[in-house]
């Protein structure tokens, strides 16, 4: 078996706050192969962004505790020295941020910032070479008039254009892994599709693996093959994108899909929101984090509130639910 590009095992991230520890990520494990695309979905506070930052070791601060391992090409990023991680950042692993309006440094021209991303990891590149590279990279992400644009400052660009620049910057070193943390959330709907297309096209050209973090199931359907669903810091379902949409196994995933309107749903049909609110990450309930909102928890005689469910195979998917596999499968059938 070939070694996966990145292999995350039992990742935990805790933030110390005055009111107690926030357990943002609790025991997340997954693999991603070279060139593969993986989506992590979940609502805000589910720990998806924290997982992504942990892979790049971007959660800094004295009160953050990270445990577990993240093997990148066999080396554990979480155990590396700060300097070793720095050399990986931007070269082997790059990141696209959520809000392109705040992600670029307002004091320098975009050309300067893209060139910098390359120069950090390639010492002694000549100015001429750098300039050509930058011009090439920003015309590739579809920015017209690159000659004029490289001398402009971030505030002179629209949101979509800035996100293109962030993408150009992330891809200039041909990273093996690209982490896109809600890359389209801050953009107009029309621009969203363009940016997703661009990421896909760039991924094909460079052969990068992509971890796409999003709360938007529409985005997931468009670009990924495999989906991790997170809830309250844990993985609750791992499945192919087709299975997530056609036969979601975990009650939470099903609830998530029922709360979104799809094109073929009846025009006046009601959306079914999930009852209740996500648990506080400081004061987590025992057992399954979803049990207080779950319709099936009552049928299992309190097992859901005492025992944490592990991921198990259900059909083609993996699901962290105490319901017997047969019952989950029949629920899936019934929903179809």
């Amino acid at each position: 078996m070939t070694q996966p590009l990145l292999s995350v095992r039992d990742l935990h991230v805790n933030f110390g706050t005055g009111e107690g520890d926030v357990q943002a990520v609790r025991g997340v494990s997954f693999d991603i192969g070279r060139g593969e695309t993986l989506a992590i979905v979940g609502e805000s506070g589910s720990g998806k962004s924290v997982t992504a930052s942990a892979i790049m070791r971007l959660n800094f601060g004295a009160d953050v505790r990270v445990s577990g391992s993240a093997l990148f090409e066999g080396q554990d990023i979480l155990a590396m020295s700060e300097e070793e991680v720095r050399l990986k950042r931007g070269s082997d692993i790059a990141m696209i941020f959520q809000d392109p309006l705040t992600a670029l440094n307002p004091f320098y021209t975009v050309g300067n910032q893209i060139a910098e991303a390359y120069a950090i990891h390639h010492h002694g590149t000549s100015k001429k070479e750098l300039r050509d590279l930058v011009l090439d990279s920003i015309s590739k992400v579809g920015i017209p008039e690159p000659l004029k644009r490289i001398n402009q400052y971030p505030h002179e660009f629209s949101g979509g254009m800035r996100q293109r620049i962030v993408i150009a910057m992330a891809l200039i070193n041909r990273p093996k892994l690209l982490i896109a943390d809600e890359p389209t959330t801050a953009l107009d709907v029309t621009v969203q599709a363009q940016i997703l297309e661009l990421i896909s096209a760039m991924q094909e050209e460079h052969g990068s693996a992509v971890i796409l973090i999003t709360h938007d199931l529409g985005v997931v359907a468009e670009v990924t093959k495999r989906v991790l669903v997170m809830y309250a810091g844990r993985l609750v379902e791992v499945a192919s994108v087709e299975d997530v949409f056609s036969s979601p196994t975990h009650p939470y995933t099903r609830g998530l899909l029922n709360s979104v309107r799809s094109l073929d749903s009846e025009r006046h049909s009601h959306l079914e929101p999930i009852p209740g609110t996500p648990p506080s990450l400081i004061d987590l309930p025992s057992g399954c984090p979803f049990h207080s909102r779950c319709l099936y928890a009552a049928s299992l005689n309190g097992r859901c509130s005492t025992e944490v469910p592990e991921l198990k195979a259900v059909g083609n998917s993996f699901s962290a639910c105490h319901l017997p596999t047969a019952e989950l499968l029949s629920l899936v059938k019934a929903a179809q």
Binding site: R89, G90, M95, T102, A103, N105, P106, A117, M169
Partner: protein, 339 residues
């Protein structure tokens, strides 16, 4: 490249516009200052001679100094005097003050402009020295405190700024004279000498006032710098800088300090201008013959021409500093330029 030309042209308009507004503001400020002093209940002519002055002398001085004319005319001849010089009285006993004339002090029998010319270098020496010290210590300690947040440099900076903010300058001034001059004799008693006369004496007379003034302002700048840096550290673009793999030193200098210090530079400009108007308390404590001491003496003696002049001089400093800071900001922050 056309782009650079465009930027230069843009900068030119920016500077021209700010300068124009500064001139307009100076005009308004001068009218206003002049009007306030002419509206005071005190009769400037009566103040020109002592308590038992004869009314004829007062009236003669009133005519000679132009206080009998309407306000607009008084303002007009004052402004003209600034650019062309002015002679008070018409006979051979007339007193001539050459340009820039800021009035005549009967109390001191001297042209105000020559009084200002004598005292201004003292104030500039105090202000610039203190400014350099406080900017250096304020930014250095503030940066250190932010980068070692919660560790001992941070606590030290906090103690330093609490001391600086809570002690009044006259107390710190007297305390420093007591310690360094009277108890330990490290320094001679401050006696101001011009820098061209004797640089060493100039330096020893000013070192205590510099530190006292610097300590006060440095406290504020430590906090401004520390908070500014901590705020910028949370910015998304700094996170992106880290995600790019920037070395820490470069990240701090190019990303964090650049963004955190830009607003501080503008506050510093105004603070310096304020100090150039005269450090009244410090100059009095250390017996330095600067603009502040001139002003205080004029207040005590009701010497109106001097008060008008020192107020105008301070106002000019503030207006110029404001314009300068605006223009500087345009250079430092590309977002301001395009507005």
């Amino acid at each position: 490249m056309t782009n650079t030309n465009e930027a230069v042209r843009y900068m030119f308009y920016f500077v021209a516009r700010r300068t124009f507004f500064a001139v307009v503001l100076l005009f308004v400020v001068s009218v206003f200052t002049f009007w306030i002093f002419s509206a005071l209940p005190a009769d400037p002519a009566a103040l020109t001679c002592g308590k038992n002055c004869r009314p004829e002398v007062i009236e003669a001085n009133r005519v000679r100094l132009g206080y009998d004319k309407p306000f607009i005319e008084q303002y007009g001849s004052y402004m003209k005097g600034i650019f062309a010089g002015r002679t008070y009285g018409e006979d051979e006993s007339g007193i001539h003050c050459s340009a820039p004339s800021l009035g005549y002090s009967y109390d001191r029998h001297e042209c105000v402009s020559s009084l200002v010319a004598k005292t201004l270098p003292v104030t500039v020496s105090i202000a610039v020295g203190a400014f350099v010290l406080w900017m250096f210590f304020g930014i250095a300690l503030g940066t250190l405190a932010a980068l070692r947040r919660g560790k001992w440099p941070d606590h030290l900076a906090t103690v330093f700024s609490v001391v600086g903010i809570s002690f009044p300058s006259f107390f710190l001034g007297l305390l420093s004279v007591l310690i360094f001059v009277i108890w330990t004799n490290i320094l001679p008693f401050p006696h101001y000498v011009g820098i061209s006369e004797n640089p060493m004496k100039w330096f020893t007379a000013l070192i205590l006032p510099w530190f006292v003034l610097a300590l006060l302002s440095a406290s504020t700048y430590i906090r401004l710098t520390r908070n500014g840096i901590l705020e910028v550290m949370n910015e998304e673009f700094v996170r992106l800088g880290i995600a790019k793999g920037l070395p820490r030193k470069k990240l701090i200098v190019k990303y964090v300090l650049r963004a955190a210090l830009t607003p501080i530079a503008t506050i510093a400009g105004i603070d310096l201008a304020f100090l150039l108007g005269g450090a009244i308390v410090t100059e009095s404590v250390f017996n330095l013959p600067g603009l502040g001491k001139l002003t205080i003496a004029a207040v005590v003696n009701s010497d109106l021409p001097i008060l008008v002049a020192t107020t105008l001089v301070s106002a000019v400093f503030i207006v110029i500093a404001n314009a300068f800071v605006d223009i500087m900001y345009g250079f430092l922050d590309p977002r301001v330029r395009s507005k």
